[in-house]
């Protein structure tokens, strides 16, 4: 288990690195998670666009699709961050996450990533990050985790 990290040892990752890592992860998720649904959504004349959420009547099958994509995306982030402290995006950007507590629990990883699969939480998270002086995400702070340079 990791030791409690002293504040002075932490070299925080910049917003740019974190955002780029998130974009890379989003692309991978789109490819791996969303791609299998493409044919079905195409036949329904729906693309996986943010605006479709507002223009399309969400029927039972679409609920299942969006729910599956959300859960699998969460599994991607949680599994990689819990076991490797990094996602593919973070590996490429040479950053990792650390716990600010003595222990590094899976609940912390779930909490820090929950906003990535719920649009409204992601919106709140990003706004908080832009306004906060430490430039940290709200759910990163709540989970007592930090993204640092590797």
């Amino acid at each position: 288990m990791p030791k409690k990290v002293k504040k002075e040892e932490i070299k925080k990752a910049s917003i740019i690195k974190r955002v780029l890592a998130y974009i890379i992860d989003s692309l991978i998720i789109t490819l791996v998670v969303s791609y299998p649904f493409n044919n079905y959504l195409k036949s329904m004349n729906i693309t996986l666009k943010f605006t479709d959420l507002f223009t399309t009547r969400l029927t039972s099958d679409l609920y299942i699709i969006f729910f599956t994509i959300a859960i699998l995306s969460l599994i991607y982030f949680v599994a990689l961050e819990y076991y490797l402290k990094q996602t593919i995006g973070k590996i490429i950007m040479k950053i990792k996450i650390i716990s600010l507590k003595k222990e590094f629990k899976i609940s912390q990883v779930i909490l820090r990533n929950i906003s990535k699969v719920v649009d409204i939480l992601l919106f709140i998270d990003v706004i908080y990050m832009l306004l906060s002086p430490e430039k940290e995400r709200l759910f990163g702070k709540l989970s007592k985790t930090q993204v640092v340079l590797k």
């Binding site: 991978i28 791996v32 998670v33 969303s34 791609y35 299998p36 649904f37 044919n39 079905y40 036949s43 329904m44 004349n45 693309t47 009547r57 029927t59 039972s60 099958d61 299942i64 699709i65 599956t68 994509i69 699998l72 599994i75 991607y76 599994a79 990689l80 076991y83 490797l84 593919i88 590996i91």
Partner: protein
């Protein structure tokens, strides 16, 4: 387990789960809601979309319309199709292709004519199960037009001559650079009459109207929706609501969501279209007419491709 092995395993599991869920949903009919496909037929009906960025790419290529009909026909959640027509017509072949595809569809199809559903567009509408049109819409116009601009005298004025080099005396029939000979005129008129006869026959069969009656109506004149109803060319006056109600009753369903089967326009399409509009308005006028005459000679030389 090494880092990258672990990542690959996780991605593999995620992909597998996603794939299995997608296949399960595709195979579960009960999850799909009843839907009505709304397929637009706007603008000139052509055989294929133009790839020339200097000309307006709007319109309804038969390949695009048929593709939309195919998709709607194959999709079990689609219970009926509405053709949303707002078109002055198009080429004979394109109209016939769409009409023939419609006849093979195993689902109810209703035509809803908005402003214009004339000529080739009316040919298409006549092959559907039911036609609804706005009272003030323009329908009918059952006729064939093969007219074109002929520039020989204008060229003469500017000292431009047409050097005729042909193998086969009728090879350049319909060329805009020379006047038609009486023989050529007669041949072209015969072909136009033949297409017209075929058009009248199609409408007569599709609408189950007397051939002679359609021939009388098919003098090329357009009819307002109200007149078309009295003449039996359409079935009902109304709007999209009436079309939706009719398709629901034909498909024997109570609730259904209309879904647009419109061609998606990408950013490159928009840029090309913007460029096309700008070019058109810059070059508009006689220069444009001359240019289009030079550019697309085959358009004039093959009368069979002319608009109906």
């Amino acid at each position: 387990m090494k880092k990258w092995q672990f990542i690959i395993v996780i991605l593999g599991i995620i992909f597998l789960v996603s794939f299995l869920v997608s296949k399960t949903i595709e195979g579960t009919e009960s999850l799909k809601p009843d839907r009505i496909a709304v397929i637009p037929i706007y603008g000139p009906i052509t055989v294929d979309s133009s790839s020339d960025i200097f000309f307006d790419q709007s319109g309804s290529p038969s390949t695009v319309v048929i593709d939309a009909i195919d998709r709607a026909d194959k999709d079990s959640s689609i219970k009926g199709i509405i053709l949303e027509i707002n078109s002055p017509g198009g080429t004979v072949v394109a109209s016939r292709e769409i009409s023939n595809r419609i006849k093979k569809v195993n689902k109810p199809i209703v035509s809803w004519i908005r402003e214009v559903g004339a000529s080739g567009a009316y040919w298409i509408a006549s092959s559907t199960d039911y036609i609804i049109a706005d009272p003030m819409s323009i329908t009918g116009s059952i006729g064939v037009i093969g007219s074109y601009l002929e520039f020989s005298e204008l060229f003469e004025k500017y000292g431009i001559t047409y050097e005729r080099l042909v193998g086969g005396d009728l090879k350049d029939t319909g060329s805009p650079y020379k006047q038609l000979t009486p023989k050529e005129r007669e041949i072209l008129q015969l072909k136009i009459n033949k297409i017209h006869e075929s058009f009248v026959k199609e409408v007569s069969n599709n609408r189950k109207l007397d051939y002679d009656k359609v021939k009388d109506l098919g003098n090329g004149m357009f009819y307002l929706g109200e007149e078309a109803l009295d003449l039996g060319l359409i079935d009902e006056l109304g709007s999209k609501d009436e079309a939706l109600n009719k398709i629901k009753s034909l498909a024997n369903i109570k609730e259904a969501e209309p879904v647009s089967f419109q061609r998606k326009v990408g950013i490159t399409d928009l840029l090309a279209r913007l460029s096309a509009y700008n070019s058109f308005y810059i070059g508009r006028g006689i220069g444009f007419s001359l240019f289009s005459g030079f550019k697309d000679e085959s358009k004039y030389s093959n009368i069979l491709k002319q608009v109906v």
